[in-house]
Subunit: 641 residues, 2 copies
Amino acid sequence: MASPEVEAKLAPLRAAVREYGDLVRQLKTEGAAKVDIDKAVGELKARKKILEAAEVSLVPKDATFDRVLLEDLLRRRFFYDQSFALYGGVSGLYDFGPMGCALKANLIQLWRKHFVLEEGMLEVGCSMLTPLPVLKASGHVDRFADLMVKDSLTGECFRADHLIKNLAEKLLKDEKTDVDLRNELTEMLARIDGFNKSDIKNVIDKYSFKSPSTGNPLLGPEEFNLMFKTSIGTKADSEAFLRPETAQGIFVNFKRLLEFNQGKLPFAAAQIGSAFRNEISPRQGLIRVREFDMCEIEHFVDPDDKRHPRFSRVSDQKIMLFSACNQLDGKPAQSFTVGDAVNQKIIANEMLGYYMAREQQFLVKVGIDPARLRFRQHLSNEMAHYARDCWDAEILTSYGWVECIGNADRACYDLQQHQKATGVKLTAERNLKEPKTVEIVKVVPNKAAIAENSAVISIDSKNFTITKDMVTVKHTTKKVHVEEIVPSVIEPSFGIGRIMYAVLEHAFRKRDGDEQRNFLALAPGIAPIKCSILPISSNAKFEPILEAVQEELKSHEISYKQDDSSGSIGRRYARTDEIGIPFGITVDFESELQPWTVTLRYALTLEQVRLQVSEVGQVVSQLCNGKICWNDVQNQYPKFE
Amino acid sequence: MASPEVEAKLAPLRAAVREYGDLVRQLKTEGAAKVDIDKAVGELKARKKILEAAEVSLVPKDATFDRVLLEDLLRRRFFYDQSFALYGGVSGLYDFGPMGCALKANLIQLWRKHFVLEEGMLEVGCSMLTPLPVLKASGHVDRFADLMVKDSLTGECFRADHLIKNLAEKLLKDEKTDVDLRNELTEMLARIDGFNKSDIKNVIDKYSFKSPSTGNPLLGPEEFNLMFKTSIGTKADSEAFLRPETAQGIFVNFKRLLEFNQGKLPFAAAQIGSAFRNEISPRQGLIRVREFDMCEIEHFVDPDDKRHPRFSRVSDQKIMLFSACNQLDGKPAQSFTVGDAVNQKIIANEMLGYYMAREQQFLVKVGIDPARLRFRQHLSNEMAHYARDCWDAEILTSYGWVECIGNADRACYDLQQHQKATGVKLTAERNLKEPKTVEIVKVVPNKAAIAENSAVISIDSKNFTITKDMVTVKHTTKKVHVEEIVPSVIEPSFGIGRIMYAVLEHAFRKRDGDEQRNFLALAPGIAPIKCSILPISSNAKFEPILEAVQEELKSHEISYKQDDSSGSIGRRYARTDEIGIPFGITVDFESELQPWTVTLRYALTLEQVRLQVSEVGQVVSQLCNGKICWNDVQNQYPKFE
């Protein structure tokens, strides 16, 4: 991945990771005590983090990227901004303006086409309000929590790991902090993600960390459940939450969906919708928010058959894999074909591999730079005990590698949990390879004899007495062709806000030789506005031509923005480039010759062609849905300069 | 509207309404006491209700419509069903299955095209979680409530008007109830919608109504706020609600939107999203739910200029208006052109009239029967004090006339409320017809003199003393070309679930001569699945043809469902008709002749044509987006029988 010079610098860090990767493997093989394994894993993670930080900092970056400039553009042109700013704002909540709203809608529409339509999925739309018992069964009520500490006098709360990070970083920046403490703090910070309650307590006590707002002592840490609580109806027992993910809505509808699919496995259900997490102290813009859009797929399969019927279509596709093994060895991510990765058991099964390949296709289509995309496998201790294999699609942004899609083989955990909680069987039938003969034991009552009695049983507080002669036990056999199974679930789960933010970062460019002109090179398919219309002057004779262009675009359902302000044409183009409008139509003095013509400009290359008004709708429409590309247009129409 | 026979039966009821309509008008003219007007209005409403019930029952109905059959179909084929049924269900919450989810998505997509794209609106997507101060300013914290009574021992709650209705209806059904009581109860029921707290209390006391669950006495009534309460973050003062409407998100973003529109009025903003109301006892399926989809438009205009630039495009369109005047007169709704209605001041302004016309176009396009659509004006006492004019689009269903879209001229109330609460000016600039000269008074300090002092003022606990010689008061004048105004707001607000339910009722049909075959005659544009693919037999030689058909449909982004089960072709068509698939492709033994052909069937008319596989994608796509109609297809391709 990196140059030999960079690799030379990384070599000792890679070796340091490998040392502890090997140790963890050895401890596990030896069946060492959990506390020893945990300790080694903590150190391993710390060393991995140092390696990753070095990797990211050493890889040559797009030196021109400046997050402040991008954020300024996104706020100024109202892609999105903090919610309720008029009332002082609420952190972790964002409102999407006309540009962000259209970008998100296009992203979701493309997702629906790429997955729901092309893969024939069953899309559902379930309630966000979710009663307590459902989330108790799913494990969220008991385990969906972060550690929090509290100001002992004011009651103000802080997310424990964030508080420690901030205070430790403050100490590190302080010149008076000596070398020993500096080293100690650095090491502690690298380990913090694995800290439990008592680790947190120890650190706070050891460094006498206090409330950053008041200087008061801190209480805790205690667990803070991240779900928003409310109640439905007026009864006292109607406790409910806003769903923290969309998946549970699919699980509780499993039986209806199986029936919709005429009882057959496998099938995939999908849901696009909002979910909510009451983050204690959200930051990082769209990366960590309290209300967000997700697209989730639950693919229900036979646990013993995780093949995918269309796997052959993707088996030659190359993807970048950062396997658990490579992570333990301190090695970088490696490129594989999906077919090889499944054959070599790096990816556990075809189903997971198929989705990872399709996800990469989707991400590249919406504008993610494939060189900044990798799939990272979870280490075994990162996964829930029931999960079989997990791979996160991670995208490199200015925040580092950000998890944007999670892929988990969750086995049959979720359906089993809801089955346990409700007593309703959540199974499907599987055809047996060969019919099986099963023994059936049936107790047949001898109704005549039941009138008399000798042994007493009680039903509904009444006593009945049953003797041997009252029943006959019959043994018979039966040939069965099917057996019941609880399906396994493969779950790809997309964070739309994170993907959208990564798309914006990867699309943010500067024009060569013009530092002041930033623009967004958005893929035409997701651009909020597809086309601008710019009259070269405000001359009234352009009016009918402009109207004809508008009607032409409307009839092809193309969103457009007309800018007839008085700025120069270059200045007006700069304004449209800034919001990622890929195509621009100019009406100029040549336009009025019969038949009416306009120029069409492609923002990415600044090239222009001339074509008839009556053609422009069709051409822009095909450019946006990918049926033709700009080269085709250039070949067909005369260049305009 | 109705036949002479029906009108003869309705005449006395119309006269009864008119009597009280006239009385209300008279009392208002005379400036009578509020209590007297309220009493008359109560009686007027009761009489209107009796008239409306008679109208609905006397108009010849589609005798074949059976709600139980429709509901069975919608549940069985998973359009939607109660949420969390696996856990016993939660009333007022619904999950949308693959059919309902796609139907809703198509409805919303068409809405976006019809309004956002064609009218050039600014679409936003705002947070659902809303902090208390915002909803305090909007009036929801104080006034968004229903009256509720409580079981004095168990604490169980009931919506007061529902409880009274149920208990009174029970008494009415009881044969032992005598005629006097019967009349008294009927009259009370007709008036119940206008009941206040003490009216409710009086009724409960008078008839000794008790808890229907336990027979215990009832406490209350008290107000129950319909918003779902939660809190954001960990602080005690972070009380928040789930938004009860999407409108406030637009109002709090007014300044950003105005800036996006380069400071110019008028402009329209739109939002599509979920809202939540904690109904005390929701019933009536999708008509009254706790979590629902809305599409709202806020059109910001100059309060003195509510013209619409495209009004001439709709002015000849006929719409059915049930004006306040006709309601007071006991007259039925009347057909007008929109232009006449605005000229005659029946509709207050062009902006409202334009939207009503566009709404009718939208509703008819998605499948609402125009004969079951009317616009009902609010009586002045139904409107909030600040509203200027309100018209509900009402659709006739088996639940009676259901309000599906509200249109309100809300004046500048909302912006003013948020301005008051935050101290931030929410104004726009309006060009003055003529520049105005304003006087400017400026106090200029005489800095040299300020060193000495005589009169004392205190700033930040420090004392300063100001004398006359220290300041000069200057009077100047300035020419201004603009003035600041708080814009008025026209608000069309769509309930998507209600529209969707009405569409399903209006589309539900029985095949003539086949009572068992129900089907949904959905408009192709909103049908969840556009096309079925049915091989006439499971012969393997059809495989390549079927695959070619699938690829053809996918390449035109057409959703399809292949049914290769073993049922007869007629039985399989019945299954596809039931879920409203408008078009069906059959692959038969003639298909394999070169070039491959298929038959295309239109579910509504049962007619079929034969065409090439390579043409079918384009044809179905154009049928669905309305570019061609079935007649065009019949003219172009040979009929198949």
